[in-house]
Each structure stands twice: as C-alpha cells, then as structure tokens.
C-alpha cells in the first residue's frame, strides 16, 4: 500500500481557502520525491462540490465530511474527525494551513495523536536521507529554524502565500470518498455568530502601502490610502497607529497583526522594528520612505528614499496620476 501526504482543505463560508491549493501543490512536489500519494480531507456543510477542485489541484484521493453538524468551526468536533481519519488512513505527513483556524485546530490534533507539530512553516524540504525538513521563522522573525519530526504523522502548519499556487488541471483524476458524518456531541462550544468581518483582507493584497508613526495625524492616512489605491493596493499600518485607534487591526502588519507577502510593500514613516519586519520581510519588493537615514527599515529594503514622507508621497502621487491620466494635479 502506498502511503500518503494528507492535506487539510480549509473552508470558509462553504468556499475553499486558497491556502488549501497551495498546500496541495507543495504536497505533490514532496510526494513525487518520497513516492507517496496526495490525500486531502475537506469538512463543512455543503462543501461536497469542492472535492473535485482538490483533485484538479493535485489530490489523488479526497475524504469528504459534509454535514450540518460541521457548519460552524467547532474545534473539538473538527479535531475528533481528523484524529479518527488519521488513525484510519495513517498518512506519513499531514499539512494544515497556518491560518487562525489551522493554528487553533492543528495543535489539538497533534496532541491527541501524540505527534510533533511544526508551526507556521515557510518552506518544506526533503534532505538527502529522505527526511522532511520544516523551516520556520522564530524569535519574532529574527531566525529560521530547521525542524525534524521524530513521530508519525509529521505535522506542520504552513504560512499562507509562501508556497506557489499550482495550476488547475481539469484532466486530473482521483477518488472521492464520502465519509459518514460524525455523531453530534456537545463539545461545550457554541458559535453564536460572526459579529464582524475584516474590513480588508490584507494578506491577499498584491500591493500594500503602510503608514507608521512618521504620520502626524489621522487624516493624513488619506494621503497614503490614495497612493495605495493608485497602485491597486491597500493600506497597511504599524502597530502604534492601531493602538491609537487611527485604523483597525485588519490593517496591522507585524508580529501581533497580519503576516503579508505582497509583490510590493511601501513602508512610509516606519522605523523597521523586529515586530514590524516579522510581518513583511518576505515581501517581493520592499520600498522604504523615512526621514532618518539610519532607520533599520532601509537595511531590509530594495529601494529607499531618505526624506520627509509629506514631500515624497504627494510627489509620487502626482507622478502616478499623470501617467494614469487621472484628475487635477
């Protein structure tokens, strides 16, 4: 019997979170190296139809749990389902997205299975002896640890957007196994409802223009927002602006906020603290605008402009407007 790599396909609002496809892509790559199959598990309510997508993105076999009892994310219910499945199919490796849901769920599963779990990985490699090496940032992003797991299954949560998205291939075939839903039990958890949605999904943005304490007043955020809009991006912020209540936490980039990896990150009036860097240092292109030539952010930037953001940003805005042929200035 061929062993497998199991990928947890996360769903939100009955849709698949794109991290699931990224994981399938990576799982496929490792599976080829280790001679394994790629399996996936999806659970929720009215999600059955997505099983085929998981095959198109690389799964050989998909286990489906589609039931009203799994409509809300009850971490104990979900854990029970996964633990039972893992015991039954015994995967070699089990990958889960390092989303808030995944980071709440995976440790419970690992503890129940008494196996090792590596958190928030940004890379997975196979060494010469065929060991899986899991690479993850720690110490607030200051180091990268290489971690090996001594138990089975090897479990890791993987950061969103670090693995490339595989191409969808509708000619791929695979097996769909519809599993019996779990018995509904009282886990003690009741999700009473969603009370707010994030205002922006900054982790999905291709361009982020971020504001820091170099900004003098709240209204000036408009200027940076304008720049962000012109570049087809969204507004980000360092923690102090969120603490001040100038902007909501959805926009916060950094260790206690969002980890982002856009194609372009422009840091305006941000010094580059380790906590801020932890959230954006893997961005493709980093631009820093800062009045202080010794600000640490410049060491992490591809391009830096030493200057007053109140001069630099308006100038940049008017140049972009000129090529775009939009209004006024």
């Amino acid at each position: 019997m061929i062993g497998g790599i199991l990928v947890y396909a996360e769903t939100i609002d009955s849709k698949i979170h794109p991290i699931s496809f990224e994981l399938l892509g990576k799982a496929r790559e490792i599976a080829e190296k280790l001679g394994l199959e790629v399996w996936s598990v999806i659970m929720g309510f009215n999600i059955r139809e997505h099983a085929r997508d998981l095959i198109y993105y690389g799964a050989d076999k998909v286990y489906v749990y589609d039931d009203e009892s799994l409509k809300d994310f009850d971490v104990v219910m979900y854990k029970d389902v996964l633990v039972k499945l893992v015991r039954e199919i015994e995967p070699e490796i089990f990958l889960v997205g390092a989303t808030p849901l995944g980071r709440s769920l995976a440790p419970r599963v690992a503890a129940a299975l008494d196996t090792g779990l590596t958190a928030d990985c940004i890379d997975l490699q196979v060494d010469d002896e065929g060991n899986l090496i899991q690479i993850r940032p720690a110490f607030t992003g200051n180091i990268l640890a290489h971690i090996k797991t001594m138990s089975k299954p090897i479990m890791s949560t993987i950061r969103y957007k670090v693995m490339s998205m595989p191409t969808r291939d509708e000619n791929r075939s695979g097996e769909i196994v519809v599993k019996d839903p779990p018995k509904k039990i009282d886990t003690g958890i009741r999700i009473l409802g969603r009370i707010s949605r994030r205002a922006v999904n900054i982790t999905d943005a291709e361009v982020i223009v971020s504001a820091g304490r170099g900004l003098k007043k709240r209204e000036d955020l408009k200027m940076l927002e304008e720049l962000a809009n012109l570049l087809g991006g969204v507004l980000g912020a360092s923690r102090p602006l969120v603490d001040e209540g100038w902007i909501t936490k959805d926009h916060q980039v950094g260790f206690s906020g969002n980890t982002v990896k856009p194609r372009l990150y422009i840091a305006c009036g941000i010094s580059g603290s380790p906590q801020h860097l932890a959230g954006m240092r893997d961005s493709q292109i980093i631009v820093a605008i800062n009045a202080d030539p010794s600000a640490p952010i410049f060491r992490y930037a591809d391009y830096g402009v030493v200057g007053d953001l109140y001069e630099v940003v308006p100038k940049l805005i008017s140049m972009i407007k000129r090529v775009k042929g939009v209004g006024g200035s």
Partner: protein, 267 residues
Amino acid sequence: MGRGFRIVVLIKQVPDIEKVKFDFEVGRIDRSSAPAETNPFDLHALEAAVRLKEKFGGLVTAISMGPKQAESSLREALARGADHAILLTDARFAGADTIATSRALAAAIKKLGEFDLILCGEKTVDGDTGQVGPEVAELLNVPHVAYVSEIREVAGDKIVVVSDMGDKYLCEVKLPALLTVTRELNAPRLPTLRDVLSARKKRIEIWDADALADYEDPNRFGINGSRTIVVKVVVPGTEKRKGIILRGGDAVEKLFNILEEGGFARP
C-alpha cells in the same frame, strides 16, 4: 460558582527580543545577551484573570515551566494580582518542544485539582508557535477558544467571548475551558510599589518532574518527550535585498520609474 473562579494563568519567561543578539555568520542565538521578561501576551492573560477574580471572586494561580530564573516572572505575576505561583523546574523539563511542554503544564494543572478557566497568551515572542494553549486543552480534555480579544460575559458555567480569527466570532464555551488571548483583550495595569513589595514575601512553589509523576510519566517531559527537534538555526541575512538608496533631487522620480517599470503604475 459559590467558591468563585479558579483560574490558572500560564506564564512563560522569554528574552527581551530587541536585545537578543543573532549571529548572522554562525546562525547562533545569544540569549545571555538579553535580559529576560514575561512574554508580553501572557500579561494580558493575567490581567484578564485578575479582572475576573475582582468581579466574581476566586483564586488565580500562575504556572510557569522554565529554568530557576523564571521565578522573576512569577514574582511579577504575584505583584500583578496572582494569588499563587508554581514554578516547574527540573533538568528533565529542559529541551521540551510544545507537546512535552504541554504535558508538564497539563500535569501540573491536574495536580492542582479543580479549575474553571485556563488563560494563556496567543503565542510567545521566542518559540512563537502558539501551540501550547490548544495542546494543553486537548491533554486536559476541555474545550478552548483561540485569539480571544474580548470577554463579553460570564453566566453560570458558561463564558461568552469574541474570537478574532480575522473575522470576529462570538463564542460561548462551557467551563472548564481554556482561552488563548490577544493583546487587544485589555491593557495590563502596572503593579504599585506596594504590590511589588508584598509579592516579594509570597512563596513560589517549586515542582520538579517527580512531583508530577502521578499525572504523567516523567520520561515524557523535556527533550525525551519531544517529538520535534531543531536541527539547525539560520539567521536570515538581508543579502537578497537590493538596498538601493535613491538620492538627489530626483529621488522620487527614480522611485516612480522603478514602480512604473515594475508594472505598478500602469495607466
């Protein structure tokens, strides 16, 4: 809850991350260079525990696993309102990954006896896994809610909280339960001088691996009980960055050109 709330707060001592030296060449972390502090997120967990106690009565016990010097973080917890403090310290706890850490903490909580609520931080600034909370909950077989940014109400044996998963969810959990908390939950108060002085007189209980033997096999703590090992540490450099500082009166124009060439400022 006639006897009031029994609350356990899990506290980890960590190095002050801004002062740790990371050796880029040999990939080494020099912790000795940095003073120790309490994991910032854990102060919010403690504050929440103390507020619940102030409102409903009860007892707050702070538990930490770590070397002897972690006592100072427990001392701080006592100054900030914890009633009891227990330090799990023993060479046999050393080198623990999250599962081995969680086993020791769960065993200590079992030894304590009854509890209503366990509070811990969302994650630490050093290990940074965020796994210990959910793992402890699983080992104790109680429900948990992660990323709690608000405690709305406590009614009977239930607590209603807001869980910040990007979107925010209102969740009700039956006690006993475990919550991992974010920094938005509250603003920790600073202890007064009197608090600090009276905390100095309190005793910190020390438990070793044998003290937990009724609840967990001591061979499953520390490095022996760990399932993951750190095989290498790399300090990422900044070499992949271009590090071009644009100078002169036309610096902004240069930046604009770069953005345009990169396809970011298309008409």
